[in-house]
Structure formats: C-alpha cells, structure tokens
Symmetry: C2
Subunit: 175 residues, 2 copies
Amino acid sequence: MTTTGMTETSAEAAHPAPVRTVDALADSIRAAGLKVTAPRLAVLRALADAPHSTADRLFTDVRTELPGTSLQAVYGVLAAFTAGGLARKIEPSGSAALFERRVGDNHHHIVCTRCGTVRDVDCAVGEAPCLTPDDAAGFAVRAAEVTYWGLCPACQVELATTLTGPPLLSNKGAR
Amino acid sequence: MTTTGMTETSAEAAHPAPVRTVDALADSIRAAGLKVTAPRLAVLRALADAPHSTADRLFTDVRTELPGTSLQAVYGVLAAFTAGGLARKIEPSGSAALFERRVGDNHHHIVCTRCGTVRDVDCAVGEAPCLTPDDAAGFAVRAAEVTYWGLCPACQVELATTLTGPPLLSNKGAR
DNA sequence: CCGTTGTTTTGAGTTATTCAAAACACGCAC
DNA sequence: GTGCGTGTTTTGAATAACTCAAAACAACGG
C-alpha cells in the first residue's frame, strides 16, 4: 500500500444506476462473451458497490462473501472484464490501478492530491472532447484521457480548519 | 524493461532549446536550491538529450559518462529535480515513470499504443486548458493532465504495409 | 450427464520503486 | 586554503503491485 486507499467509501451512485441483481450481473458477464462464475459475479458486484477500487480492495471485498477467492483470480477477472468492455482500468499517477464499471461514455476523473479519493467528471467539451490536439505530431489519435488533480471537499475543510498544517499527500489508509 | 523503449531516439529538439553547457546546467541546479554534483549534472544532461526517459534509461545513459553512479542515485536525483521544479514526472498507464525537463508551460503528451513512443503536445485550449470541468464535484481543481493515445507515424506505416498483423502492444484504451 | 475449454488455485517470479545506514563531498565559515 | 555540517550518494535490502505457469476445477453446449 504505497499511497492511499484510493477508493470510495460507500454510497457512491454512478450516474447510471449500477446493476446489482445476480441475474442482471450474470447477464452482463454473458453479454461480454464470458462464462459466469462466482468470482466474476462477486467482483462485478463489488465494483458496483465501490467504483474506483484497487484490485486489492476488491479482493478484500470479495473475500467477505466468497472466502476461497484468490488475489490472482481477482486480477484475472479484472483482466477479462477490461478486455470484454465490462470494466475500465485507470492508473492515476502514484497509485495502483483502479477499476470501474465502464459506462461507455467518455468521462474523466478528478483525484484528490491529499487523500486520493477519485470522482467521475463528465467531459466538458461534449462527445469527442479534447480528442483533437492542435498538433498531434502525425499521430493517429484514438483516445484522450483527462485527469484532474485537486482537493476534495473534505480535505479542503480539513486544511482550512486545521491551521496546524501537518498532513499533505500520501496520508495512510485514511478512508 | 517490461514494455517498450518508451524513449526518444535522438534528435528530438524540445520547443525551447534545452540547455546543455556544464555551467548552464549547474546554474539551473543551483537555481533550484540544490547542490551541484556530478550525478546531477549527468542526469540533467541525459534528460536534455533524451526527454521522456525512464529512470532506468537515464541510469544507463549516465553510466556511460559517470560509471560509478548507482541506480538509487538516479532515483534520488530525479526526486530532487521533480521536487525542485527542474524536471517533471509523468506516468502513462502501463509504463514506468518517465521524466522530462519541465518547461513550466502546460503541455500534454501523446503516447503510441504500439511502440510506446511519447511526444509533447501543446495544449489546444490555450493557457489554462481543460482546467475547468463543468462539474468538479466540489473539488478545488489545481491541474489537468491530458494523455492522448494513438499510433505514431512509424507504426501507422508499419501497420499499413505489414498486413500480416502481429501488432499491438498491450493496447490501452483503444476505443 | 459428459467432455471440452475456459477459469481459478497454488506457487513462484519480476519489475519498478522505496527505505535505511554508512561513506562521502559540496560549499560556507573561518 | 582547510575544516565542518548537512545534504548526497553508495551499498544493501525490502516492498508493492503485478505477471507467469502448471495443475485442479467447473461452466455449459451437446
């Protein structure tokens, strides 16, 4: 655990309400051309509950409902999901990879520099956003990824009140 | 070296011509409030020669002119440079951290999904670019970082001619 | 129900990076 | 110029986050 918890606490409804019933989850897994298995269902549900989670966090979550699961299984499931378009992998600088159920929309992320919390941010520029740099140096651009860095509301408050300014970035498991 | 050569071959003049004379390099190090040492000079010069290099690549480069240098020293130097505003660290998904001499301007990067080459891209939207998302979810935004993904000119050619397609370097968000 | 093929477990390896203690050296004071 | 204090670098080792591979296992089409 190099950096922070980089996860969401709980009630973190994504814009499109995430599917949670077992059969709905199973359906989306099947729809991605994958076999439906217990670990996959568990990971997908954990992902619905806590977007922007690390593999490790998902592993812990999954273990509570499916104790026999291995970490490698979680990595495998996430790789399959990512390849199948069921999930998206993001890798903010300084943190382990985070996963979220992919919405197909192209949204971006804002990361708190202090506590590591991640939130979704809709693309300001509409559909294909910053997708066209002025000079792409001859590259055929396929995708653009924007990461915003800043202070989350909670950390703003903490910094404002706590004039005794100690922490700043890389605080431990402050969930 | 998990991925590819994530570096620049050679003649890769950054927009503002990089400083290369020993005393100029020394000056900028001093200006950052750091002691001038041989490893630091070597790393800074290597960085001028090959922007977007990994610590390991810089280590190799530095070794040719300063054989006694340790990898940890390079990491230390880069950390000091980054903290002192002499260099910038970028971490494209799937690759080790890359370093470049920071220009203070806010430019972004385009990464080839096939060979890993990185180029600078000026911000299309002017000074403070995509810095203001519509809804920042209450975050105090401090910075925005854009990463473009696509095919570099060379790889476009290779893919076009080599119809025998054994391509693709663990392709990222190619959607 | 059965076999095939895709998954998961088990066990081990790798890479990029960080930590810590001791040797060293830059550059200011004298 | 020389000595010294503090910042650097070397040396040595540890860690986090993944990845690889072989064997056990289980979905699901027939």
